[in-house]
């Protein structure tokens, strides 16, 4: 017994259905949908009332206009895409594995419903619920359930309502379907007509070897389709999961509070949509179209992916407070990157750490106080240039596990020897230095003069001579005594290029 089971949803005349779905006032009216370049438009889709009135596919615009009471609508790709999205979203409530099998102007999809009996009951019940759900969205569909995908597809396309085909009954169910459902090439269709073969039952009754000898290998496929035995490799569509919200303001907005009001609602929607996919928001990008044609974009990256709306809104508020829009805002777009929901394993004996989400808000606030690039972790640069470093963003995830040796293990190796630390002066203070036998003996730093008791040096360093960031310095460690009697140890630096002396740092 096969463990496959498919349900095919078929919405015929989809261009007309998509337009009439939102125009309930036209539901009972004869409507045709025209496509093509004016004035050579032709009817590509029509509803049942129009068909009863005598309209047909392929009619020209003039022919359609000559029929009284016939409403003509232009085909809309956007409306069809929206209706198709609704259909797929509705179908996704019954199965995550969906393959799209559109035919002509019909919209059709096949759901892999194997193993859903416990959730939705027997296939007939599922088909009823599926059709009811789609009718509620304004779409008129037929549903067929079969163990063979092509059988379900062909049956749904050729019958109305719900059809459930029992295992082994595929050939019987398809027997009365006309051969035109296979959409055969014109010459072969003519051949079958000459032979008197008009239905699937008549085609499946033909001997395979003789059929192949006269038509070719493709006849095997048609015969298998007619018998309901054609195999198929299911190719589910990848659901494009994009978290994006857009809003165009009626009038340009200048106040950040008004933007945040809309932003809060958008974050709510994004978080809810992410949560329905068991995901969280890993990053949030704010794009603003400004008056005057400019655009502004900022990205918020919380330390851990989250769906905490208040926390995301707080980060957005701090980000917009730090970087307010330079002009009135015309449109606001929030797009989010989905990530796995964060899971933190806590331990009884693990050291205390800041709560990641709270730390994000704290760091954002610190950046608002001190400056964007003045809060973070220092990282030493791979260079011999004295005092070079760069700032990197501080995060708990970065600290975890990066340094695995604990204090006790370090102590076994021996404690780190305390060293004299430098307290830098940024920017370095220019000083006047008196030299004796090429050694500094005193210096004056605009406030007071220092008498140098001992000077150790010079320590010459240079580098990057090939670039504009070249340096060439001479360092002196000096022990000096101020006029007031205070003794200090400091670092004096002479620039090798211009010979200027600077007080770089104090040893402390």
């Amino acid at each position: 017994m096969s463990n496959e089971l498919y349900a095919c949803v078929h919405a015929e005349e989809f261009p007309a259905q998509a337009l009439l779905r939102l125009r309930t006032d036209l539901a009972a009216q004869p409507v045709v949908v025209l496509e093509g370049r004016p004035p050579l438009e032709t009817v590509c889709s029509l509803n049942r009332a129009a068909r009863l009135k005598g309209a047909a596919l392929g009619m020209t615009r003039l022919e359609a206009e000559s029929m009284d009471g016939l409403i003509r609508l232009p085909r809309s790709g956007e409306t069809e895409a929206a209706a198709r999205a609704v259909l797929l979203e509705c179908a996704a409530h019954f199965s995550p594995r969906i393959e799209q099998v559109d035919q002509g102007t019909a919209c059709a999809c096949v759901l892999d419903i194997a193993g859903t009996e416990r959730l939705f009951g027997p296939p007939a019940t599922l088909a009823e619920r599926l059709r009811a759900a789609l009718i509620a969205t304004g779409l008129r569909v037929s549903v067929a359930v079969s163990e063979n995908l092509h059988t379900a597809r062909l049956k749904a396309a050729t019958t109305r309502g719900i059809t459930v085909i029992a295992p082994g009954g595929e050939a019987t169910a398809l027997s009365k379907i006309p051969l035109t459902a296979l959409q055969l090439p014109e010459d072969h269709a003519l051949t079958f007509t000459l032979w008197g073969i008009r239905t699937f039952a008549e085609l499946s009754a033909l001997p395979e070897a003789d059929l192949v000898a006269r038509i070719g290998r493709q006849a095997v496929e048609w015969r298998e389709l007619a018998r309901g035995t054609r195999p198929h490799t299911f190719q589910p569509i990848e659901d494009e999961f994009a978290l994006r919200e857009f809003y165009a303001f009626d009038t340009p907005v200048e106040e950040v509070d008004s933007l945040l009001f809309m932003g809060a609602r958008m974050i709510d929607c994004l978080a809810m949509r992410a949560a329905t996919h068991a995901m969280a928001i890993a990053s949030l990008t704010v794009q603003m179209q400004l008056e005057g044609g400019q655009a502004q974009e900022r990205t918020i990256r919380p330390a851990l992916a989250t769906i905490d709306r208040k926390f995301l809104l707080k980060l957005l508020q701090l980000e917009m407070g730090a970087h307010p829009p330079q002009a009135a805002v015309l449109t606001l777009t929030l797009s989010a990157q989905a990530g796995q929901s964060s899971k933190v394993q806590l331990g009884l004996f693990s050291p205390q750490m800041p709560e990641p989400s709270r730390l994000d808000v704290t760091i954002a606030r610190l950046k608002a106080i001190a400056g964007e690039d003045r809060v973070g972790s220092p990282v030493l640069e791979d260079t011999h240039r004295p005092g070079s470093f760069r700032m990197e963003s501080f995060s708990i995830a970065q600290t975890a596990g990066a340094y695995t040796r604990g204090a006790s293990e370090q102590d076994e190796e021996g404690p780190v020897k305390p060293r004299m630390a430098l307290r830098r002066i940024r920017p370095p203070a220019p000083v006047r230095v008196q030299l004796r036998e090429l050694k500094p003996v005193s210096f004056f730093d605009r406030e007071q003069s220092y008498k140098i008791a001992a000077a150790y040096g010079p320590w010459r360093t240079s580098g990057c001579w090939w670039s504009t960031e070249a340096w060439n310095t001479e360092e002196w460690d000096v022990l000096a005594e101020a006029n007031g009697g205070a003794a200090v140890a400091c670092l004096l630096v002479r620039d090798g290029g211009n010979g200027q002396w600077q007080l770089e740092a104090f040893y402390d």
Partner: protein, 254 residues
Amino acid sequence: MPTASALRIQIEHSLERRFPAALTPVPRTIRETAATGIPAVDGLLDGGLPVGAISEIVGPASSGRTSLALAFVARRTREERVCAWIDANDGFDSESAAANGVALHRLLWVRCKSPGATAKPWARLDQAMRATDLLLQAGGFAALVLDLGATAPEHACRIPLATWFRFRQGADRTRSSLLVVAQKALAQSSAAVVLECAPLNVQAGNGTVLSGCKYQVSTGRIRSSTTTLPIDGKRKPPAVAWPAAGMGQREARA
């Protein structure tokens, strides 16, 4: 003849309305400490600096305040904890921190700045105070260093006492050690420990290299100390000396 204990109970009973526990000392709270990583200083402090309290490291320039604070932060970061350095004067040297064993990726450095070329430090002090407040409220930091070492005492002393009291409450609540590096003691009664630093002497290797320095640390205040100072007029606070080596690369090049 009543025994001493019976006599004590009798006296306490008669005085209990006016002086509860008149002769029985109030039980002391043993505060958790964290070692600084410098044995001499840890010995002086009976284990280290207090956790969840304000400690002040005061002294003039080149008195070893920064080296002592870095040693403490290095010890805490090696225990896989995170620390923060609130730098009111933007004087933190990351090379020195790394040389002292600080795991820099576990250190949050807040560099306060002046909005203009003004010589007045109020903007930087305000930023430092607000940053400290935020970090204490956030919690989770094992140590916070408020570096006011290059701020003139006449400016730093204008920080209201209410601020220090709030910091003390915040440190106590979040179990963070708040180290204040300054030239003079600022927190007054809010500080649990005040360490006074001073330079002792300089070591010169071969007469050409500044190979180290010896600093002196004395206790200006220890709130939880169990030892009582003598009242014979010689109230010299206990002090220890500790050495700090030079920056390493100088000796290597020499």
